[in-house]
Symmetry: C2
Subunit: 465 residues, 2 copies
């Protein structure tokens, strides 16, 4: 039993006192909690009390005996974890899952994805985002950071499906000042939507598609409006080398000189972050985080995100999947396992990136990456009640000698039985409660022939410039 | 529609003629078949007719209209694949899943696994093997190659659970001639057990634990009795370098000079196979195959199996998981995805090891690796009726633009709904029909405290010698 899981709420106001009924009471689970040093600990036979969308208490069966609750979940044989966070995706791109395979990134994007992507209408985006939310909920994800176009549609889908999201309307310099203005307009207009589950950011595409003037203007807007920034940068080692050759600076150094490291910034991928970037990153005055989507890096034959270097600098690395058009999946559970596996392989050190470290990335580091480090990412009183329950009874997760290893290396996303956001159950016993998948798939499938027509496609950019 | 899936059986004897009822009739699925060049093809709206444990026909709904069947499966919305093959595992080691984590291989084995492993009694092996079979069946595996001790117990479990297996009783030279004799005795005594589902082999542990004299004697026995050999060799690059320093020959060259490449041999891992080994492998007169278990190689920070080099030599590479004590899982579906991903990454070529290549490894190459290249590995008339059905309706597998990519990169082992061996349904709608998992887990869990006692442990070998 740790301090953060000790019986009795840390905040009596949130808990409402022992007499007040719980909105939701989860009993009998093994709860993943963090101790004062943020080490992952497990509390057996735990009870989780939820009131007003918050975790009121993580305590014992005895402490909740006789407590009334509007809704109850008997979670014996299951682990309770903070909901997973997908720190970088393009949800609507699930519509293009598998449409262009086994290709280098430039050919994949310019010859296949962009010509199709530029066909997407608002209804396609809505259907794609709905399907993505279904996949996320089924995989135990409770929050996602989306960087895409038609973000008002995505925000509506987030409101409907019950997820939490950090949303940013993407823009290129090629759109002129209107792109940046639309991104700001979206961010200001939709922040706090869906009962506060929607947070927003500015979303320039990347240093190779947004020029220095626009990046600096974005940093100014971020500071002026207190908004975070989410962008692609140093996606691959090739990008870093091209940037050095063309601009005399790495993508990270460009972020530095345009002021983007002095605001809260979420950098997608960062597999091209190099030793030379240590100085720029160490000098950052903003909250800098990196989102890592390891499956796609293997698929494109990119290097992995240098997690060890970033850990040395104290920069959180959140887990992500990127869009399903490249990654084929929004499976953050897999990202967690691959982060452990690939980091061992890349560093040549089997002791590095243990299961407990992977769980720390999946919880607190991911929460910080999306700017919600105090609100989610831990099962602790006062945090939002974003909880997933994981079945441990399958033959592939037994016996349990080390629950951290079981979760990271033996369990799979399909073992998530129950997904809860703000105390609302979005999936129970594998049944989705807020998305009608057959209806969404049916309509999307009907629209596919028009969607994949590529006749009007044109190259808009060099992907590794 | 391809030749191998054309309406009408290739072998009228196997089919029994249109008038004879089927034992099992699967309808409405999309069947994975191979064309004459072994390319993967998909037949929509397929019907699979099973009689006497064999596939009698892969045909259309029209062709089976009015056909009587003892058992029927409506598989609309599902893909039918040849059952997966786990080409190298140590099934009973699931009992030690997660017991020693995040360690280099030598420390993992000598300080943790072996001291515990040498505690295992026959009942522990039986329980472990039963749990492993449950996991394999749930993951769509219909055949596994097991290399372990107490193989009579494993053979009994295979008979009970309904799986197919290639079994070999492991031995070290340190056991004296009795080890090799016991391996031969097992192989001769149990071959053909379980209605022919058990095949057997000789199972020397590895060139660093079995000396050249014993390896040569093993090759002689294999030739004399027509038995294949299954052993660990060139497990890591370090092993290859140590072998060169100590013996002036790589592990593969040792296999060559002891005659083991002139019999049918299944080499586990082979991540230490190097360019220099091309000559020895090219000169082999036996059927040589390699089993690759990519998850464990990432975890131990080993190189991947050089699949491209082996492909150039025409050597089949089968998919495997190794034991769950290192791999944490017997998930061959994951091995299929990781083989595609890791090979792209390791070769730096996103075009290499496409989804269709991965499916070829998972089907015909794996079947060949376990010596069953003519009996399993393809949904074709005359082959054993080892079939798995995979649900494609989940949000994570929709929409389907490219079914090969969907299967390899979006689907997961948990999407397997139905597992069939020799026409017998071992799992239906995710329900296991031949293993009582709660009973097995209950007894195994009671035995764990005695199992993990390590007081008497001793180092028996250098793992990378």
């Amino acid at each position: 039993m740790t301090a953060s899981a000790a019986p009795g709420p840390a905040d009596p106001v949130a808990a409402g006192g022992p007499g007040r009924p719980a909105d939701l009471l989860i009993t009998g689970c093994t709860a993943l909690v963090h101790d004062e040093e943020e080490r992952v600990r497990f509390v057996e036979g735990a009870a989780i009390v939820v009131r007003d969308g918050l975790i009121a208490d993580v305590t014992t069966a005895d402490a909740v005996a006789g407590l009334d609750a509007v809704e109850r979940i008997d979670a014996r044989g299951q682990a309770a974890l903070p909901g997973l966070v997908n720190c970088h995706t393009h949800a609507p791109m699930v519509a293009l899952r598998g449409v262009a395979e086994d290709l280098p990134v430039e050919e994949w994007f310019n010859d296949h994805i962009w010509p199709i992507e530029s066909n997407l209408g608002a209804r396609d985006v809505e259907l794609g985002a709905s399907l993505a939310c279904a996949e996320l909920i089924r995989g135990g994800v409770t929050t996602f950071a989306d960087h895409y176009f038609a973000m008002d549609t995505v925000a509506d889908v987030v409101a409907d499906t019950g997820l939490r999201a950090l949303l940013g309307q993407a823009y290129f310099s090629s759109q002129g000042p209107e792109g940046r203005a639309a991104s700001l307009d979206f961010a200001l207009r939709r922040a706090g939507d869906a009962d506060g589950r929607v947070t927003t950011c500015l979303a320039p595409h990347a240093p190779y598609t947004v020029d220095d003037t626009d990046l600096a203007a974005t940093a100014d807007l971020a500071r002026e409006h207190g908004l975070p920034v989410h962008l692609h940068a140093a996606e691959s080692r090739d990008q870093t080398e091209h940037s050095l050759a063309r601009h005399g600076a790495t993508p990270i150094e460009i972020l530095r000189r345009t002021g983007l490291l002095d605001v809260d910034v979420l950098i997608a991928h960062g597999t091209g972050i190099v030793d030379r970037d240590r100085a720029a990153l160490a000098a950052a005055t903003g909250r800098v985080a990196v989102a890592s989507a390891p499956r796609g890096y293997l698929k494109f034959a990119w290097d992995p995100t240098p997690v060890r270097l970033l850990a040395e600098l104290g920069i959180p690395v959140g887990l992500a999947t990127d869009g399903a058009a490249s990654n084929n999946s929004l499976d953050v559970w897999e990202s967690m396992a691959l982060t452990a596996l690939v980091q061992k392989s890349a560093t040549g050190d089997p002791r590095w990136l243990t299961s407990r470290q992977a769980l720390h990335h999946a919880t607190l580091q991911s929460a910080r990456a999306v700017g919600l480090g105090d609100a989610i990412g831990s099962l602790a009183p006062g945090r939002r009640a974003d909880v997933v329950l994981v079945d441990l009874s399958g033959p592939h997760t037994q016996p349990v000698h080390d629950l951290a290893a079981t979760l990271v290396h033996s369990a799979r996303s399909a073992d998530v039985t129950t997904t809860i956001v703000d105390g609302r159950v979005l999936m129970r016993d594998r049944k989705l409660l807020t998305v009608d998948v057959p209806a969404v798939v049916g309509e999307l499938t009907e629209r596919l022939p028009g969607l994949v027509e590529r006749g009007h496609g044109r190259r808009i950019q060099e992907y590794d410039a």
